[in-house]
């Protein structure tokens, strides 16, 4: 086993996701601590042009697996590509992001490599030359610290927790790999895009969420306008999703999405434990709630006790002033 770290860089339609840079940065840091190199593997079709961007964000070597059969994501195909990259660089650890793709690919690759994966990790450290990770368990009611006994530790990290490195002019060698005999049985036939081009919830640096305090879907322009002024993604509590005001894709919490943005703004959300499970790892939390005793205030960095219908329009105005 080597001392380097291999990261999987996610791309869709030939565009690298922000998490690709986050895992690149983490791989570089860990490789430095372990005394090896950070290699980043990118998989797809027509993606060899992406190597330069990865190098500019800290990859010391880039592996490109570029084949027409891999144009669309498939767990089977991409896991085979990761296996090929592992065989090529013999890393001390493999890192990917816990996105929809990463959550599907990670376990497939781990089983294929017959090793263990720690998923949705929020902290990684090197202790006595070995990797140690921390991850929330029991919907955030506890944090587990884990160490690997497996020969090849695999880690998937929660998006937005690890900072993406600044872009530099650095360059790195590229290696091309081809996987022979791909067997792909589960095939992506189509991707239906959600309407509009709003920022994706789990990848956003700012999230604005609304709850039952907003009284009805007709008032959602408050969330939308504030989100737009901040370049933020929109979230919702389960109460409003269950009421049919918002789609389930926007739900934050135990049975929705877990988000860790730098700024989370909760409007008219009481702060039930199941909602907190999805957002307490956010950097700064703002609560706008007219009830001074609402539990959301206990986790909020800054609170305004007041009527959302008065506070939010003013907030939009102040932010737009710049």
């Amino acid at each position: 086993m080597g001392t380097g770290v291999l990261a999987f860089a996610e791309q869709r339609n030939g565009e690298l996701k922000k998490t690709a840079f986050e895992v690149t940065g983490l791989a570089r840091r860990l490789a430095g601590e372990l005394g090896g190199e950070a290699t980043v593997v990118v998989v797809g079709s027509g993606v060899d042009g992406l190597a330069g961007e990865l190098a500019a964000h800290g990859a010391q070597k880039v592996i490109v697996v570029d084949q027409p059969e891999l144009a669309e994501y498939s767990a089977e195909g991409y896991a085979a590509a990761i296996e090929a990259a592992v065989k090529s660089v013999d890393p001390a650890a493999v890192i990917l992001a816990a996105t929809a793709m990463g959550k599907d690919l990670g376990p497939r690759a781990a089983a294929r490599l017959n090793t263990s994966l720690a998923s949705e990790v929020t902290e990684v450290s090197v202790e006595g030359g070995a990797l140690q990770v921390r991850r929330p368990v029991y919907s955030g009611k506890a944090i587990a610290t884990l160490k690997f006994n497996a020969a090849l530790p695999m880690i998937s990290v929660r998006p937005t927790i690890f900072a993406a490195p600044e872009r530099s002019e650095a360059d790195a060698p590229t290696e091309k790999l081809t996987v022979a005999d791909l067997t792909i049985r589960a095939v992506v036939e189509e991707i239906q895009k959600a309407q509009g081009d709003q920022v994706e919830l789990t990848e956003a640096t700012i999230v604005v969420s609304g709850g039952r305090g907003l009284k009805g879907p007709e008032n959602w322009h408050l969330v939308e306008d504030l989100a737009e002024a901040l370049g933020a993604a929109r979230g919702a509590s389960r109460a409003v999703v269950d009421a049919g005001w918002r789609p389930h894709a926007e739900q934050v919490g135990q049975t929705g999405k877990v988000v860790s943005p730098q700024l989370y703004i909760a409007i008219g959300i009481s702060g039930a434990i199941q909602h907190l499970a999805g957002m307490t790892s956010s950097g700064t939390i703002v609560a706008i709630n007219r009830d001074a005793d609402a539990p959301i205030h206990k986790v909020a960095t800054y609170s305004i006790v007041g009527d959302a219908f008065e506070v939010v329009p003013r907030l939009i105005e102040e932010i737009k002033k710049g």
């Binding site: 994966l117 036939e189 959600a194």
Partner: protein, 250 residues
């Protein structure tokens, strides 16, 4: 032609979590246990597929402590034909070792479709279903919200960032259930009575291959007590100043 569903016994999601004296596990005193919530969608999916096929059996499988027979009994009451309890001498396993044991047991059942929850409500690894698929040499579609079967092909939708992925796969295959896939049925009184008469097949497991070991379990870091910036719209300028100058997030 079997429809297999894997269920995990977990603490009720409402339960307060107290860390045990060993500092690595939870204190189960007074904690109510349930089948992991997403597993209910998986059970319902298995029952629906068997009903549609008009043949085969629904077999519920659980790797867990002796008490997990209660959760399996619930599956039988919902309509599962058989239940297999892989009795585990270990209170915790990493997903890889869980998957290895489940795959061995499921492989013997000649499954047509295997269903899992998308993630367990305790450690929430979101791994076991897909790992079992790879170990069985089967394709998988994870976190599905719809499922349609035509002959030996299944088509499923899964949510991804900013949209929905439509995946088709050959069957046999493995699926993990996301909320919204279906509406889990309640056990009928007749089902509950029938379940009492069924026997749960048992197999014992004592291997402890821990590729990933818990060093400690801790309460989450307390968020620093927040600050009430003020009341009403008049507090907005100060809030914006704090966000710009103190937190530096906008």
């Amino acid at each position: 032609m079997n429809f297999v569903v894997c269920i995990k016994r977990v603490p009720d999601t409402e339960a307060r979590i107290k860390i045990a004296a060993d500092g690595k596990s939870i204190d189960p005193t007074g904690v109510q246990f349930i089948p992991s919530p997403y597993d209910e969608f998986a059970i319902e999916a298995a029952l629906l597929q068997k009903e549609k096929a008009g043949a085969g059996e629904v077999i519920a499988v659980c790797l867990g402590p002796a008490e997990a027979s209660g959760e399996l009994r619930k599956c039988l009451a919902m309509g599962a034909d058989r239940a297999i309890h892989l009795k585990d001498a270990h209170a915790h396993r990493d997903p890889a070792s869980t998957a290895a044991i489940l795959a061995k047991a499921i492989g013997d059942l000649s499954p047509r479709m295997v269903f899992f929850g998308k993630s367990s409500a305790d450690h929430g690894n979101s791994q076991v279903g897909v790992q079992v698929a790879e170990r069985l040499g089967l394709p998988s579609v994870s976190e599905i919200v719809t499922l349609e079967v035509e002959g030996d092909t299944a088509k499923a939708h899964r949510e991804i960032e900013g949209g929905v992925e439509i995946v088709s796969t050959s069957i046999p295959a493995v699926f993990t259930a996301q909320k919204g896939l279906n509406k889990p049925r309640k056990a009928s009184l007749k089902g509950i009575m029938a379940a009492k008469k069924k026997t749960i097949e048992e197999l014992a497991y004592d291997e402890a291959p821990e590729g990933l070991e818990i060093v400690s379990l801790d309460p989450p870091p307390e968020r620093q007590a927040g600050r009430i910036v003020g009341e009403g719209a008049d507090a907005v300028p100060e809030l914006v100043r704090l966000l710009r100058e103190e937190a530096k997030v906008i």
